[in-house]
Symmetry: D2
Subunit: 403 residues, 4 copies
């Protein structure tokens, strides 16, 4: 009997990462590309019986009117990243997915995100509760129509400004506040989506630094409903390198005096991060791990700048100034020239497969063993990449199906 | 009762690394500097009861006539690396050590090393056996005169050309060949020193890519005499980064297509490596680990060039070209500006403390758990730095003295 | 008959550039160093009969209480830039100069500069006119006491915030406003110093982006009194490279799409620039020349960040993204690791010699042929370095004394 | 009446630069692309009345059997450099050009070039004279068949090994030697082509470091026949930057101690340069200009390595170590990531237009005012790029048609 399919619901479904996920899954299913960049295709993961490329049905929310095909093609026309031949081959798949995209919401998402919303439905002011209900209905309709066994919701929307209002620790306390007027939402947009996901019986992944399912009240909700979730903020490039290099300086007892990271890129994500309030959330997520990984906290500085000509090519220059034996100052610099969506998309696919597998294994609440995927891993203090990979491999070994 | 001292016998005692080891130990003993760069001063190592700075008496061999003080001062005048104030403070210590330096040998060390020998004693042609006897006598005299409890011999001499003649696997077979004439030595210089060390009841560390105690016959000799040894080739800079970064590319299933490493520096070590035959040994040691760490072997290229103006500042530029999701090519570059002797010296001190401690713990033969210190670790297949650090910490935890 | 001496009056006399100028001139006069970095020591300048190192008497203003010797030594202790041996040799010269340093003023210099003033005299609130009178008196006293023939005043003080109030175009209109209360100064501090310089019959050089003698009214004053002046903002590192590289992209018709320059350093100048209002003046001066040099204005971004561990080592990373034939995007990156004061000091000395020589040649007002020295050259539209050097060499050739 | 066309005859017609020239001229003529990278399209050149894109008919020689279309497409499939859409649009033009490509010769071109020759005609051993006759006939046939007014021959073939045999200074002495057997050719291949070009009444451009028309005897031949020629070795990337940056260090009197340039790339040109004898010619051409531009010759090192994954993307890392004021050592590094053929092709087109224009202006022999295009300009000592651009602009101004 054929394995049943699962649903993948993307928030921010027309963005660069989402369209690359769609293009990539379609290209993999059609056998057009090798599974480069997919961790779940390395040795050891095969015996987990993870869901197959062709068993994933995609839908999602977005707040923009643009055509999905046009957005996917921008990866080529602006960034020369996905060859036009591949895009052409998967065009039928993208047209199919477009029929399953529903209008999202910008309630409590901040002015910069609200400014790019081009769908009128996305801007209708409703109570947080009625918005959650709408999102939940969209997800359930998707699941029913496509007869999928389980759903995974992934947040790929633009980074929200940091949320400063206090959030109650219990969902029972939080719940009544959701009925307030839209202007006094007790939660940012990303958390409304997370609640809707859990209420629609879906697992949830927060690939952004936004609040999502991070609050204790939401984790409890997930646990009560037996649903796993993972986050926050995919670790794709410069921060990945920090989590690889900082342990080396620590292990060699070299005294890092300062660590400067300067990031430039030109995609839509970068445009939103050009707003200082949105940028603040991202910088915090990129910066905090050094203090965790190094014995004495160095002076750190992370800057992120929108440079339009770079498109999806996130270029980072890091300058690490450290003191060695006899107090001698030395320097390491690196330049990382990575294509943001190309780096992120396989991690999203890996996470969908693993979070879905964790659900089958009966896990609920946040999943600390997925820390290697995130800049700000939930429920996990370890920030070193190698140690995080050990956690991942330990889980995989434990859950491998022995013949 | 006061702990007895140990002897540290340095081969290449007037080189940059050796003089930095001497300066550093003296400065540490005098409390002039913090123990930055010393792994054995990080958490977890304290309960090993390692030998103290002031309990190490230094002597050694060299083939050059130069004054030890002048050589130590070159770190400042040429490379601006050790402040003149520190050098001045430890001058009495260096003068004292100079009295314990004996003429080394250049038998079977290749023409480039022979060209820099300025001591007539170093060039006397004798049989390999009589040279071993002389070295052994020097070490035993040193141990006796200074009443040290144990001796550790460290090879810090310039890199020899690769040794191509076959070496018998058993010491019994090898031993008679040592009585041949000097021109037909069955072993390179570094191995003669290693034999002398073992015969003088000393542990041995090979911090260079030269042959040293690597041959099976010498490892057997060490085991028979109950002596530990470790090697080869201290992992100080560019190769350290390779062993940190390559596992990241592997773990993320990114396909490294090419990895180019270009090294420039201007110290005596660099001058010797300017000879293509000596360079060959070094390049091999710096290059081979990528094939070990990456699933599909990339095109690799390591170049090492003598640029006089850089002095001890080894600058490396690495260019890593890798393929990500959907076949997209991306690039990482790094520049490492490290002071070679400053990076090496604390590793030498760490190794002396740990190899001596292993001897107390009854270990003999090569020590695979010291792999993190070396480019070409003996008796250990693992080349990833994080995994090697786990091996080291496991040993430390096992041998910690519980209160 | 011996040539008479000239006076060099430094504003910001205890800063890094000033103390390096003093140390350098003393070391040159004592024959301790080669004249590296001094343009006026290259071929063609010798026949100008410029003033000699030993014929320059130094004094100046500062607002800080610190000892000049301590400040000079910071170049070594913090930045390892001037060897302690050189500093020791010139100590008598620095002690001598310290007797000729007078308290400066912080009137209208902005809060960040006011915060570092430690001399009570610097903070006394007086009318701008009475402050000018005091400065003028200090300069005239210096000139009289030391019997110097002519004086050159150089502004080396920290960068002021940009001045936004309108400044009258004629000195006659401006003059009465100087008698207003200190809170409503019509000019920033640097311009008060410039007026005082001209009133004390001194030539003036503005090595900073502050306003100085830039206003038309002050240029007129200089012209009326027959005094030359030059500025603004010494072109020492990253901006120098921009003025060298941008003409290449222009001449090769390559389309620069974006040019990002990220500067990090840790000296006092950097600390002041950490204040966004002071930084604004500097960024503008570093950024504007690209629009001048390139046919189509690229997106540009200049950031300057205070990273304490770097001391005087200004490290700049520039990323230039340009389009070539058939629209192919390409990239050039550079890293500049320069010691700020070491780069600036010889330019200051060159300027003093040349401005003084221009005065002898009867020139008054701003000197456009000195454009190659400045980021924002007065009275000169040309920003390309090679073209600016041609202007300089033309002037030199014209004024060379033929035998 | 319509302007008559000119012929462009490319030696190495199937290589990356040649196919990019063809693609570019076709795309320009069809109005598909902007003339980015073409110097002759900048201000000042318009009044020269240079030949138009559509007035250039292309033919040439090659020694390989490959299809021109396939070779052109490699720029996309291997290097992602020319978008498939552009290649598709110009396919008819490339098919047309292919009919005009004739078999070249490998006589006296060295073993590496001989190894890639796949056309049997290219390997026929004849006397140098009979080869010249064949080449001349091919060019004259091309000119006649296409009824072109004038022909320009451009050498774009792979770099030959340096030619060490002495070459007579007069063509009269040289001429009889050409009748010797093929094994004792008095000239390398590139020079045989140059003679054939002049004998076919064509101007000649040597875009490679090969010998070409450099010998005095060939320059005389060109002068006698009233034909201009230009060379050697197009200055496209790293060497261009040297010629821009070295004058800055010189003008600022900074003492360059060492300049290391490390070049990696993976096209056919790179494969040929992997042969040490061919590489020697290239390295010399890339290296010699620093000694010319800097007052005291620094230690220099140029390396060129074939890294297949990079395709046409020539990546260069340069490390410049210089001494500033008070002897302080500082560093500049740059990384250049340029697409070799994309950088070279517009220079070839510029040169064809300008050399043809010079012929109309009656110039014969080598053209020193084209120095800015070459690493080793003929008949011109000046190596600084800005000074060379002044020479070019002076010529242009002199020959502009005034209305």
């Amino acid at each position: 009997m054929a394995q049943k399919q699962i649903g993948l619901w993307l928030i921010g479904a027309k963005g660069g990462v989402a369209t690359t996920v769609m293009t990539g899954l379609a290209a993999l299913a059609r056998g057009l590309v090798e599974p480069i960049g997919l961790i779940t295709e390395t040795e050891g993961f095969h015996s987990l019986n993870l869901i197959d490329w062709s068993d994933i049905v995609i839908g999602g929310h977005d707040i923009r009117n643009e055509s999905l095909l046009d957005e996917a093609r921008r990866m080529w026309t602006v960034s020369r990243a996905i060859p036009p031949g591949v895009l052409e081959s998967v065009t039928p798949d993208l047209i199919d997915i477009e029929t399953r995209i529903r209008p999202g919401t910008v309630l409590a998402s901040g002015t910069s995100i609200q400014a790019i919303a081009s769908l009128p439905e996305s801007k209708v002011a409703k109570t947080p509760r009625s918005i959650i209900d709408q999102i939940r209905t969209d997800i359930l309709d998707f699941a029913g129509t496509n007869d999928v066994e389980r759903v995974v919701v992934v947040n790929l929307a633009s980074t929200e400004p940091p949320w400063s209002s206090p959030i109650p620790d219990s969902f029972d306390e939080l719940s009544p506040l959701l009925k307030h007027a839209s202007e006094s939402s007790p939660l940012p947009t990303s958390s409304l989506y997370a609640i809707a996901a859990f209420e629609a019986d879906a697992a949830y992944i927060n690939f952004t630094p936004s609040t999502g399912a991070t609050p204790q009240a939401l984790n409890t909700l997930a646990q009560q409903r037996g649903l796993p979730h993972a986050g926050c903020d995919g670790k794709t490039g410069e921060t990945l390198l920090k989590s690889v290099l900082a342990p080396m300086f620590r292990d060699r007892n070299l005294n890092v005096m300062s660590w400067v990271g300067h990031n430039i890129f030109g995609n839509l994500d970068g445009k939103i991060l050009d707003d200082p309030s949105n940028k603040a959330a991202k910088v915090k997520s990129k910066d905090h791990l050094l203090a965790n990984l190094l014995p004495s906290t160095p002076q750190t500085l992370v800057s992120i700048e929108f440079i339009e000509s770079l498109g999806d090519w996130k270029t980072a220059w890091d300058h690490i100034h450290f003191e060695g034996f006899l107090g001698t100052p030395m320097t390491m610099q690196f330049t990382w020239q990575g294509c943001d969506s190309i780096l992120a998309a396989p991690l999203v696919i890996d996470l969908v497969r693993l979070v879905d597998r964790a659900r089958l294994a009966g896990e609920a609440g946040s999943l600390p063993w997925l820390a290697s995927f995130f800049k700000s891993p939930l429920n996990c203090h370890e920030q070193g990449f190698a140690a995080q990979m050990t956690m991942l491999h330990d889980w995989v070994n434990k859950h491998s199906t022995q013949p």
